[in-house]
Amino acid sequence: MASGAPAKRVDAVRALRDAGVTALLTFGLFLPLIGFQTVTDVRNDLILNTRWPLLFAVVALVGFSRLAYSFAIEPWLQNRALKPAVEPAAWRGKVARWIIPFAIGFVVAYPAIVLATAGFGRSVKWIDNFGIQVLIYVMLGWGLNIVVGLAGLLDLGYVAFYAVGAYSYALLAKTFGFSFWILLPLAGTLASFWGILLGFPVLRLRGDYLAIVTLAFGEIIRIVLINWVDLTNGYAGITSIPRPTFFGIPFNADDDGFAAVFGLEYSPIYRTIFLYYLILALAFLTAFVTLRLRRLPVGRAWEALREDEIACRSLGINTTNTKLTAFAMGAMFAGFAGSFFAARQGFISPDSFTFLESATILSIVVLGGMGSQIGVAIAAVVMIGGTEIMRELDFLKLVFGSTFDPTQYRMLLFGLAMVLIMIWRPRGLITTRQPSVVLKERKAIASDLVKEGHG
């Protein structure tokens, strides 16, 4: 098609009709659940309230959005499709080269930046809720990336190993009083042992079936944690788990505490900063080990397995060992993250290890672009940081009234974001991969060329 051809004129009648149909559809969709609200009255009976203004506001909003789409966005998209593809600008390559060092520098300096901008008192929240929380998910995403992104094994029960790590640390630390530094590798070992144990029966499964069985295993472990009250204290969870120490110096207000030893005024911020650097180090460890493993025979075998299992077997690669090492490696990092989680919270219960967590971690891996470490990190920042920031949007109360609580929309928007990002970029945010074997020159390849693996 000629590049200078004018875009089609907007057909106003069609646009109006489409908007009308969309509005009608929205009305039908939301009539039962937005139009009516089930509430309990004073006699404890369930009665219905109507919410017509809200329903019609939603319908009008959707109808007008559809109209705007027909008049503004659709012609724009068509125009863009007619233009020849623009060569990526030269600055993009430069930005891409500097983005990783910059990101590393930023995360290392993050506590200092927060302290400088938010002040001493408020920065605990920003380092803890944002920094540590996001980094836990970055680490979990990188760990699961080994299983899903490299070996192509779809695992929906990853949170089970996270739980094994957390409970291992909590129980062993409380019962035997071992320190965090002894228990960290131990928790990782136990988790990877469970990874192998659960990996064995599912060696023959692939794809969605593997996902469902791992989901079942994850749920079984959670139900056992709930019901084995003697060991795990059931729903009530385990409280007052010992906190990690700074090479033997505890973070408390005592005379031999961290603040006193270093001659500082006591503040909880020191522990938070310490935990921040701890999880940062663990996350970097995960990334570094993954990078190195990709160059080892086992890492190459994982990627070969993802591309074609039958070819792998005919080349003499032991697929059993390859799959089990992937499960064990992924589980080990989940175990590390789990024991860190238990040490940071000081309290764990089965509620922290639901299927939703597994789904969140898997979605971070897929949304980021399977196999791309930087993509996984970006997805974790967007999805976890984004939902955490919803807690801070107090100014919305001024707009929607004081009863408006933005936090309850967190997971709603999270689910919606998952759907929208998948439709926008089915291959994930970062769609190029760095091959670990190159001929002559090093160049990125499009992820369309990377198979997703049969599982």
């Binding site: 969709l29 779809l154 996902a211 079942a216």
Partner: protein, 305 residues
């Protein structure tokens, strides 16, 4: 023996509900090869729609004509849930058809999270309980002072399930739509070449799946009298287990699998441990997939290089 018979009755009732949901999984998997993770939540949404319809009708008509109310509730729930699932397929799954294999799975998980949180936000996080819609029991026989009863609710569930399964069976085996569905299942490209509207057929599959889930949702509401926004996940996984046990892609398999899962669950609760009843269902899922991946009635999957 009497305990066993009672559990048999309870198990078949529960199993009918699972079977109705399982058909949705198996049909969608058969036609587009995707595990529709949101299907359990569609079931949950349908029971909320039924709840709203029930409360509305009772406030309009009074609770005297319960049979009429129940019938209307069923129809309303089926209609609105079909609309919901049609829209979901259109917005969240159709753009991803033929793309990267994991994309629809993630989209479905996102949809599942969205639906349960949507219901939580719009209807509140608390359990919604209603007074029993229908009451009454038939005592079948009494032995050792243990009466074996079949409640009216259970009878209604059996009858409604049986009637709908017959309608559904007719739809799939005897109508144009059913033929188009089976054609798309075998080969979408070929079906399109001989004039089958593939998009429409897939949409209709989601509509039928939702209608059957809505029947299950209404029956669930009537049977237990309580629903919550979190009720979609576990029944969903169990129904998926049923579909796998029966052989995914096989429609009679889904129903029989559902009844088997219902029986396993009630028997396990009665004779072993009620705390671990979900473990029983999930273990069945794992064991079936590991040792009998094609299920009881499925076709074995032959892998070609």
């Amino acid at each position: 023996m009497e305990v066993f018979l009672q559990q048999l009755i309870n198990g078949i009732t529960l199993g009918s509900i699972y079977g109705l949901i399982a058909i949705g999984y198996t049909m969608v998997f058969g036609i587009i090869g995707m595990v529709n993770f949101a299907h359990g939540d569609v079931f949950m949404v349908s029971s909320f729609i039924a709840l709203v319809a029930f409360l509305l009708l009772v406030s309009l008509l009074g609770s005297s004509s319960i049979a009429l109310v129940l019938f209307v509730v069923l129809i309303v729930a089926m209609l609105f849930t079909s609309l919901v699932n049609w829209t979901i397929e259109r917005l969240a799954y159709r753009p991803l058809r033929g793309s990267f294999r994991l994309a629809p799975l993630i989209s479905a998980i996102g949809m599942s999270i969205f639906l349960s949180n949507f219901v939580q936000v719009t209807q509140g996080p608390r359990n919604k309980s209603i007074p029993p819609m229908v009451q009454g029991d038939f005592v079948l026989f009494t032995k050792n002072d243990y009466p074996v009863t079949l409640s009216v609710k259970q009878l209604i569930i059996w009858i409604v399930t049986a009637v709908l399964l017959v309608c559904f069976w007719y739809l799939v085996t005897r109508t144009r739509l059913g033929r188009a569905q089976r054609a798309c299942e075998q080969d979408q490209k070929m079906a399109a070449l001989v004039g089958v509207d593939v998009d429409r057929t897939i949409s209709m599959t989601f509509v039928i799946a939702a209608a059957l889930a809505a029947v299950a949702g209404t029956m669930y509401l009537m049977y237990y009298g309580v629903v919550s926004f979190a009720d979609g996940f576990v029944p969903g996984v169990k129904a998926f287990t049923a579909a796998v046990l029966g052989g995914i892609g096989s429609l009679p398999g889904a129903v029989i699998g559902g009844i088997l899962i219902g029986l396993i669950e009630t028997m396990w609760s009665a004779y072993f441990s009620i705390d671990y009843k979900d473990v029983a269902a999930f273990s069945v899922l794992a064991i079936t997939l590991i040792f009998l991946p094609q299920g009881l009635f499925g076709r074995p999957d032959v892998e070609k290089v």
